[in-house]
Amino acid sequence: MSQPALQMSDVRKVYSMADNEVVALDHATLTVGSDEIIALVGPSGSGKTTLCSIAGGILSATEGSVVVGGEEIGDYGDKELTTFRQNKVGFVFQSVNLVPFLNARENLLVVDELGRREGKPARDRADRLLDELGLADRAKNLPSQLSGGQKQRVAIGRALMNEPELVLFDEPTSALDTELGQQVMELIRSEMKSRGTAAIVVTHDERITSYCDRTVHITDGVLDAG
């Protein structure tokens, strides 16, 4: 098989505050295969968001090595991380964070405008994604004119716009009811599998894990692949 989408080895993340330190990740070692979908399950405050942020180049690890799609990002500076995020990863955030004054299609295209500036190929990709996500007839709607599930689907489309190696979903269904959540998970799985893209899906909900290939548990910053 081709190289893994993510290889974290002995990653440690310490948040330093004025008077104390929080160890949010401790000796975390995790490998995600090139088209693997992993469920990351753990209680609140266990370090799930922290792990996603480090894997996605939003935060830098305190110690350890992070390799995404063959690229070691452990010692990248802000500029290199920005370029890395433009090209290698996609995010779907806990709270839906679409640009309020852009319609669904433009919310996908903004990734290209801020990043690679491909133009026509990006527009074609956006239209194809909207179609796959069942949003073709909502392309011109502003976020305020979309339902919660539709907004979440736009966010998924946005995460796939840059053809990433790895997509990080931080509790993508927490704002949706059970049925809608399962529909969105089904969609995530089919989008990932049809592209052969790897994903980490953070969740509290054990039912969601059935849409993933493998479940990794995290407790107090310590991973346990059991």
């Binding site: 942020s53 939003i58 920005t82 995010f91 955030f93 640009v99 405008e113 801020l114």
Partner: protein, 366 residues
Amino acid sequence: MKLALRELVRKPGRFVTATVILTLIAVLLMFLGGLLDGLLRLSTGAIRAQSGDAIVYSESSQSSFLRSRIEPADRAAIESADGVDDVGGLGVVLLGARVPGNGPRDLANVAVWGYELPPDGVPEPPAPGEAYADELLRADGVELGQELLIGPARTPITVVGWVTDTAYNGSGGLWADLDTWRQVLSENRPDAVLADGVVQALVVSGPGDPADVVAAVDAANDGTYALTVDDAIAAIPGVEEQSGTFNQILGVTVVIALVVIALFFALLTVERTALYGVLKAIGARSRTIFGGLVVQATAVTLVASVIAGVLVVALDLLIPPGSIPLYVSVGRIVLSVVLLLIAAVIGSAFSLRRVLRVDPASALGN
């Protein structure tokens, strides 16, 4: 940038307040500037129009024409100097003129000039008893061919043509030959009678640049001194003070515009911290985000400037001529817009630090 412009177009509401305030500031800036230009035009036109390089005054004149006396001997010395081509006499007297058809107390303020070297836009000196009148005097009811009665002695002068932008000390110019001017002076100001051949000042032109001409004149004759035309304009009583005061007010106005822009966009940046976090997380550079902010500040300022420009031009058309000395020029409007745009860029730069500090990790808030 596309993102920033889209926001402007789609959410114009959030920029209305800033645009309105900036429009008012821009109107103030253009109006005050136009007033300054108008006042300066009224007090400096006659000197600005001089085609020579330098103006020569007598030693004790303090650069006032009315106090200055140039004797024929001085003139001869200057005329024969190296670095001097043409020399012409110049004199002026400020008086009230009776205009036919106006009431007996409704006098027009005139500056009667005697000249030899024609200023820009003024023909060669007319026949004795005749003068070219500044367009400004039309507002006083002066018409072509009229005989104006100048001063308490009612010296007659016939208007034989129009000239523009030759006002002095707020009065419209009447451009006559030296003898006519000397006659008006001696009949109306017995205290200031000048002998034949004596003038108040000389206009001198030479082959070099103005500073060289000034040096040549000063070297050639004692008892007189020369100023370049620009220095002579600045030496007109009140001109420097007026410019200084107005320019300070204009400067403060630009600073106010800068502060308004800085505050407005700082608030906007705070409001958008979450959005900027998301944009950074999906790959936006701080430079791109800040660039968008500058584009918005510039666009808002530009819109305000265009509205203000139209308003000031309309105001200029509405105000009856001669009532206030407003002079609206393209140069002044462009200068105001450029100053405002600089204020916009500097003002929005105050948000740069805040944009840089936005953490992409904030997008992943729990």
